[in-house]
Amino acid sequence: MKKKILVVEDNPMVVKSLEFKLNKDGYEVVVAVDGRVALDTLKNNNFDLVITDLMLPFITGSQLIEHIKKETPTTPIIVLSTATQEDIIMDAFTMGVDDFITKPFSPNELSLRVKRSLGKT
């Protein structure tokens, strides 16, 4: 069975690229364009991995991460963000995310990191 990944991202070009690459790598991808949609989607579905931006409309990425860590603590999370400041990277790790990728992502790096995070489940 295909592993199921929730992508939470509000830039449609990034979404398109992630969907293309992850589908090509053999994963099932569900997209949520903001934090609210992500919470709704998480209520009714189980995911093997969540890839999320930090700056999202309505509910921030940090709030979403907190929610996931509370409800399904074993679900791995990869943060996808344009931010490259050390403090933001460190904050994300403090919240318990498994990995961090900066946008625009490298296709090889994405494949490797997704594979590695899914290996932990």
Binding site: S17, T84, K103
Partner: protein, 235 residues
């Protein structure tokens, strides 16, 4: 050629460094954070070698950080477990990948990487590049066309929102919109627009914002005009 190489030390990088020509100077550091600090302090390294999962920042994150925050483009050699050996074009030939363990025959890749970075790159006057989209999709033209359509429509909408926010002196929204569309310009490798988005998101004063928004719009129009010329079917 005497070269100054910075190595984030672990078993594999240390073994690889032993294969380098004897007259190359090798400096070791413990982690990628220290490497960043060293490069920040003395910008004299011609190559940084580290494991793809170096800590606390991976090789790719270190490269991104050096480029965006330190504004330096020291070539990076990544040692990893899975992948094809060679120079990674997506990183503008500034990064190469070698599968561990490194052998003598892999040294050619290091030489190629260094050589490429001593040769001035061809300067393009195009407002956009498809290199990134080609790399993502293995040059899948359908994907590229669809993504270009998304670029034209989504960024156009966001620019309208940006101007509305500016009209209302809502600088918080201006910054958020700039943050949102920055990756779109990055994916088409328009550095001017990426820089403007950074300024709008972080550092621009309120007085500078109107001019930056106008310039961003002008860059978008330029990209669009070139896209329409190069891909008439998009219109």
């Amino acid at each position: 050629m005497h070269l100054n190489i910075l190595v984030v030390e672990d078993n594999n990088t240390e073994k690889a460094a032993r294969l380098l020509p004897e007259d190359w100077q090798v400096t070791y550091c413990d982690n990628s954070y220290d490497a960043i600090q060293l490069i920040k302090k003395e910008d004299s390294f011609q190559l940084l070698m580290l494991d793809e999962y170096a800590s606390p920042l991976s090789a790719y994150q270190t490269f991104d950080y050096l480029k965006s925050e330190i504004k330096t483009e020291v070539p990076v050699l990544v040692l990893g477990e899975e992948g094809e050996n060679g120079i990674l074009e997506h990183y503008q030939n500034k990064m190469a990948f070698i599968k561990k363990p490194v052998t003598n025959s892999d040294i050619k890749i290091i030489n190629d990487l260094i050589e490429k970075n001593f040769v001035p790159k061809e300067v393009s006057d195009k407002a956009y590049s498809l290199d990134y989209l080609n790399a993502i999709s293995d040059s899948n033209f359908e994907f590229i066309k669809e993504t270009l359509v998304i670029f034209r429509t989504s960024v156009k909408d966001k620019l309208i929102q940006l101007k509305e926010a500016l009209g209302q002196n809502d600088f918080k929204s201006v910054a958020e919109i700039a943050h949102n569309i920055k990756p779109s310009f990055e994916m088409l490798e328009n550095k001017t627009s990426v820089h403007i988005c950074d300024l709008l998101n972080n550092r621009a004063s309120k007085e500078e914002v109107p001019e930056l928004v106008t310039e961003l719009e002008s860059q978008f129009d330029k990209i669009n005009a070139e896209l329409e010329n190069d891909f008439p079917e998009l219109i």
